[in-house]
Symmetry: C2
Subunit: 443 residues, 2 copies
């Protein structure tokens, strides 16, 4: 299948010339391009008037690059591929002052560097309570016990003998945007909204496994427990467990990543991420919630009067503009501009996303693009002609139940300012001009 020699031999023929084939009879590509091509090349003057790089005389057009001239790496080089070296800035990041300890900590998805609805597996944010458990799948077991007819233990191979399903679901940490409760603080959507990811899971319905064990009539709650050394536990109503929960062993086509619970995690669609127990090893059926740490002292919503709402599991409709944003400002002066972002709801699909350029005074319907899947991230775009003046960007999601994402002030008027969880308020970015965007609030 090699045609490398052929190309080397025919480098000056009509069939394999570089840019400018109309006049390629000369001795070399390079001299042709220098002599004749530039005058016929110009950027469209209208749509992209701000463009400078592609103007006449651009050396990137006139000169051959190394990759045009030399052989590249072969197929043996990377049996498991990695991103381009030019993308090495696209990484998960943490906030050093937010948590002192990287083992029991969190990092954030670089939403401003991504597009589409799938979060790349290597860039899904992490939240661990005692670091990443490196589990040997051959030694891993999942136990179902408690109020069941027949306690069961499953190997990974056992789990893979039950009927499988595939679903794309977002996972959002209940504390996502939590640092923004009391005002604009973190300068970048990676940090304000990056505790969310969207993964295509493959796994087995929890209802199949529970049917195999036989839940006793009084069973109404499920306890899920992880195999890491924090032994993460959460109580889940049996109704939800039987509805759409999945015991997942694959993400985005391949085995779960270690930081996402390899070899098996619980998927609790639309509900706060802390309940999606990773490294899942135990499911207990009971008749009441267990009132464990993660559903009492943590992951409850402290109200203005000092009382705490608990069992606030569902992640309500939310959206954020990912570009432009503080880490990804507009780099041109004016003209045709793409604004894009993400919207999601734990209660279904997203019906509509509105975008404001003036801090919420007027709104425009954004275009939702790509598959609109239940409890999955939705990608929206708003294509507009920027006049180069400052903008106050906002987005507002409306989900399939009719719920409208609230403003931050509306949220605070109901919930006070004590909470760090379930902040789904509207985010504002102040585009000051080319190269500068800031996290702000508007009254």
């Amino acid at each position: 299948m090699s045609d490398q020699k052929h190309h080397q031999a025919s480098g000056t023929s009509d069939q394999h010339v570089s840019a400018g084939s109309e006049a390629s009879k000369g001795p070399s590509r390079r001299s042709f391009l220098r002599a004749g091509a530039a005058s016929s090349l110009a950027m469209g003057a209208g749509l992209l008037a701000g463009n400078k790089a592609a103007a006449t005389g651009d050396p990137a057009i006139l000169e051959l690059q190394d990759w045009n001239q030399y052989l590249g790496e072969g197929v043996d080089a990377r049996p498991y591929g990695t991103p381009s070296p030019f993308e090495e800035h696209v990484v998960r990041r943490n906030v050093s002052w937010l948590t002192a300890d990287p083992i029991s900590s969190v990092n954030f998805t670089p939403l401003h560097d991504l597009d589409g609805i799938i979060t790349p597996s290597g860039l899904c944010f992490e939240r661990h309570h005692s670091g990443i458990a490196e589990v040997d799948p051959a030694q891993h077991r999942l136990m179902i016990h408690g109020m069941v007819d027949k306690p069961l233990v499953f190997t990974m191979e056992d789990l893979k003998r039950f009927p499988r399903e595939n679903h794309a679901y977002f996972l959002e940490c209940a504390a996502n945007s939590g640092m923004e409760w009391r005002g604009a603080q973190l300068n970048g959507c990676q940090f304000t909204h990056g505790m969310v990811h969207n993964i295509m899971y493959t796994g087995v319905r929890l209802s199949h496994l529970l049917a195999e064990a036989g839940v006793k009539p009084k069973g109404s709650w499920l306890l899920a427990e992880g195999a890491d050394s924090s032994t993460m536990t959460r109580s889940i109503p049996l109704e939800k467990a039987l509805d759409d929960c999945i015991v997942a062993f694959a993400m985005n086509g391949e085995a779960l990543r270690p930081e996402q619970g390899y070899p098996v995690r619980l998927v609790v669609p639309g509900w706060e991420g802390n309940m999606w127990v990773k490294w899942l090893r135990r499911l207990e059926i009971g008749d009441a919630p267990w009132q464990h740490r993660e559903e009492t002292s943590k992951y409850t919503d402290l109200m203005a009067d000092g009382r705490a709402r608990r069992f606030t599991w569902v992640m309500d409709a939310k959206s954020v503009i990912t570009n432009p944003s503080p880490q990804a400002p507009l780099m041109h002066d004016k003209g045709q501009t793409v604004l894009t972002g993400l919207a999601w709801s734990g209660r279904g699909t997203i019906d509509r996303v509105d975008v404001s350029l003036d801090g919420g005074r007027s709104w425009h319907a954004a275009r939702i693009d790509g598959p609109s899947l239940n409890k999955s991230l939705h990608r929206f775009y708003f294509d507009f002609n920027w006049d180069g003046k400052p903008l106050l960007l906002q987005s507002r999601a409306i989900d399939s139940t009719g719920y409208i994402q609230p403003t931050k002030s509306a949220l605070r008027s109901v919930r006070g300012e004590n909470s760090i969880y379930h902040n789904n308020g509207i985010q504002t970015w102040h585009v000051k001009g080319p190269g500068e965007v800031e996290n702000v609030e508007v009254s």
Copy 2:
């Protein structure tokens, strides 16, 4: 947010016990499990009768593992994540005798290790004609010229100012399964069918860019050219270019991988992969095909009479059972079994997949699961109770046009045995027993 100390302090409390919380009042988890738990734990005797690993006394249940006891890696460890070390066998592989030169060569997607419909970016097969071009996106340009009103050159930033779209499309090399034309040869679906992948692309409709340049009335063909040193070129009818082709810069949420054409490639939905020019640098409009190497001496179908069919662009409906298959045999004796595979069509969606356990004598409807997207891989499952006896497994795809995937002998009766391209014949796997599956043909 750290609760590591809390967990260490409360390790023997009710709230954070390991398997067997009902009786966890004793001094340690481990002694409880050894003493009391085993008798109440047993695998379901019916559905998974073949299971041995999870039987009473399994040390994986009775003994705490390292990951239950010690802190794991923290969030700083891998800003861009990687698979579990236990998955290091999941890699692209080449066939050493197939092509002598790894630079101008091919490797194969490990389909038998994957699930769902998305191919992980690091595992998408590669086919290069002069290795992987490592392109600096700041120095990359895309030129549109030829029969246009206004020749244009775009930087990557320019391209990102046009309206974007997201679509999952399969890409299949025309030579996928080519080595199987004359009989069963390669023992594994990675090698027989692994020149296919399925990616969620983000990019700009080619029609937007061509509208900007203004195609002259006589323009009816497009030449696409890559910036690698092989200067890959293919002719594409303008009708297709204007229909659904995309100039893509993102895959599965992140920037294109280098081996997939970073920073920009052409996406030609449903058509053979060779046309999806990577490292795309030039689009020329003309009024006839260019008759370049890749559409004359290569990527044409040599018929029995010595004539060659050309411009056979569309990849017709095809399917393959990925599990069980030679690289992934059944590991249990009998009982509940999941058979799974992939189906796709370059003409639309997949309406139905049939599965045979007896070499095509009788057929059963498989379950298609996950999003059914246009010109995208479809995942199918067939859940059955294996009696432990030998099987001759086949799958047969029917697409939304009503086209039925042919048998290999039907294909050969029309096309002869000279070709290596466009083999979409039905594949047979011979399950000989636990642990053994072979690539065979049935008459």
